[in-house]
Symmetry: C2
Subunit: 381 residues, 2 copies
């Protein structure tokens, strides 16, 4: 008889950094870490077919509680047996709590101890998210990994403001954890709950918050409230302060980050999981990431370039599409341009974390990451 796999297993660590390789096991499959989760806010990665995601070895996608709650709504999700079945996506799904989206609504929301009241960005209708209701919605979605409701602190925030906000996040986390442990799963598969650390750019608050959350024994831990306007150095510093406290035997997730450079740096600081709209959103704007550097798809210099978009990230389409054709599609406003650009950027991000994992297990991560950052950051020539 074999022992059941633990939720998270540490497969190796890099000798010259805090980078880790691990495996998350869910009822919908395993996730090798470090991992990048393509963003499928409304249950679909924009301009990308599921099968392309499968072919590029996307082990997990991210969806959003706020958006799915509004459309298609929990009634539809429950009738369909959850998002996996609605979307026919059989691999793991992580859902963000909607805390960040409610925070982004600014003038349309008001927060209290009870929860976050907001007006829908679609029709202005009034809604209340509580730590408990957000667990319920994520029950209906049926995501494998899900986030607690948190308050994303405004940036900048003075110490007192950041402290008060962080403390509410901690109290909400406690209610979330209790409700999660008391309420049943709807679809038979296990759901794992992640807490989110806040504390703005104040190291002591970040520490206090994470310590309090660790005591509540969540399945995983995330770092939230970053990439909201603070200097990159602060983002890295707050990440390092947080990973130092996060338990080694649980997955660590830096939310909403970032550029390839941000991701490689944060992996070196001990982070396992990432999501960001950058690869998909930038693709639609014509900014393409490749192993030969970044470029703008509309640039006239690609007019007659026979070069493939990228032949090193394991994407058949990128290997078989010329720069000239991609440029033509963007200049001519063809949807196919958005599709091919998205595929390349997602392929690049997935190649990035897949290779990072290999290098961690080989013990050569640090050197490789430094070279790769230099390689990806340069403009393509």
């Amino acid at each position: 008889m074999s022992t059941p796999s633990p939720f998270f297993r540490l497969d190796g660590t890099d000798p010259n950094s805090q980078a880790r390789a691990g495996t998350i096991t869910t009822d919908h499959g395993t996730i090798p870490t470090p991992i990048f989760m393509p963003v499928g806010t409304q249950g679909a990665v924009k301009a990308m077919e599921h099968r392309s995601l499968r072919e590029l070895d996307a082990a997990i996608i991210l969806a959003n509680t706020y958006h799915l709650y509004l459309r298609p709504g929990t009634e539809v999700l429950q009738a369909m047996g959850g998002l996996h079945r609605l979307a026919n996506w059989e691999r793991p799904i992580l859902t963000d709590s909607g805390g960040f989206q409610v925070w982004s609504l600014r003038d349309l929301r008001s927060l209290s101890e009870k929860g976050a009241e907001f007006k829908s960005h679609l029709d202005g209708s009034r809604h209340l998210f509580t730590p408990e209701s957000v667990v319920e919605i994520q029950r209906a979605i049926g995501s494998d990994l899900f986030m607690v409701l948190d308050e994303c602190t405004n940036y900048p925030a003075d110490h007192a403001t950041a402290k008060a906000s962080m403390e509410m996040t901690v109290r909400w986390a406690e209610r979330s954890r209790r409700h999660h442990l008391e309420s049943p799963f709807l679809y038979g598969h296990q759901q794992y709950q992640f807490a989110i650390g806040q504390g703005s750019t104040h190291a002591d608050l970040r520490r206090d918050c994470m310590n309090a959350l660790v005591d509540m024994d969540f399945d995983g831990y995330a770092i939230g409230g970053l990439s909201v306007g603070e200097p990159t150095e602060d983002m890295y510093a707050m990440t390092e302060v947080s990973t130092a406290i996060m338990p080694a035997h649980k997955p660590r997730y830096l939310m909403g980050v970032g550029t390839p450079e941000n991701i490689l740096t944060a992996i070196g600081l001990g982070v396992d999981m990432f999501d960001c709209v950058m690869p998909t959103r930038n693709a639609r704007n014509g900014t393409i990431f490749t192993t030969k550097g970044r470029f703008n798809a509309r640039n006239a210099r690609w007019k007659t370039s026979n070069e493939p978009i990228d032949d090193a990230v394991g994407c058949w389409t990128s290997e078989n599409t010329s720069m000239a054709y991609l440029r033509h599609l963007f200049v001519a406003n063809e949807i196919l341009g958005l599709m091919l650009a998205t595929m390349q950027n997602v392929a690049l991000y997935l190649w990035l974390v897949r290779t990072a994992r290999e290098k961690i297990l080989e013990g050569t991560y640090r050197q490789w990451a430094a070279e790769t950052i230099e390689q990806l950051n340069r403009p393509r020539d």
Copy 2:
């Protein structure tokens, strides 16, 4: 030693209609007829990957001379070695001449014996298409099958107007044919030239036009100037008048038509080739054609429908996508909705002509077509 394949071979005819099954052979592959050509105006079928077209057995796509002349332009096309190489589409391509697009510009064009002068819809710049220059542009594109410049007669047109217009089309066709036979191919592969019959809804003019064109010994013959507002019965009548004259050993193409019903009816009148924006354009508007009938993707009745979009047209994606998910994607304005809808509609059209061919070869076309028209026209329930 085997005899080289003829450009067009007749494989069979239906005993109870004028429907024919044939094979067109080009240097980029063979095309079984009847065939539907998905429209890739600017060298890309809107919202559809090439590999999806290949998987659905699209034997040929259509592109447009007017659009490709403006973007990316003949210089780029020539530098890249033609559209096949630019787009990495290795199967046959047919290009329309741009006559119809220039005609659609209305206030931006003026026609004379010399050719059609027009202002670009993109930047207002002035251009002249002549029968000869349109051959040259299609040399640069490198399409396998291409159309002469014609004058699409306005509808309605009295006999005198339609006659004068048709006669110019005939004179232009003569210049086109001469220029084609005198000028070399640019990329080594053979290019075949099709003439376009005009004559509005006047049967005698249609006959005179087609007879004159047949005398010029083109590689194939098309029926143009239909589907421009005339009653459907007139469209069928003019089609029948034309196919009666078109030589049996050459392919016959009804341009810009139409609904599945139009296509099946015209196949019964002896037409081999079709193109239309309907499957792709309607898909993006949420009108989906399936073997179970038509539906609007946004309709609330699909909210929780587990049914696949269509499991009878040989499209993996349609078999594995629920009506509920498609509806959610349309309601949420996801690009993936356009992609999946396009794939289904193109799959349906290609299934339609593929099956038509089987039924013609079996000798059961007429009965099958009548049943299929009824089946596809009903609203899905």
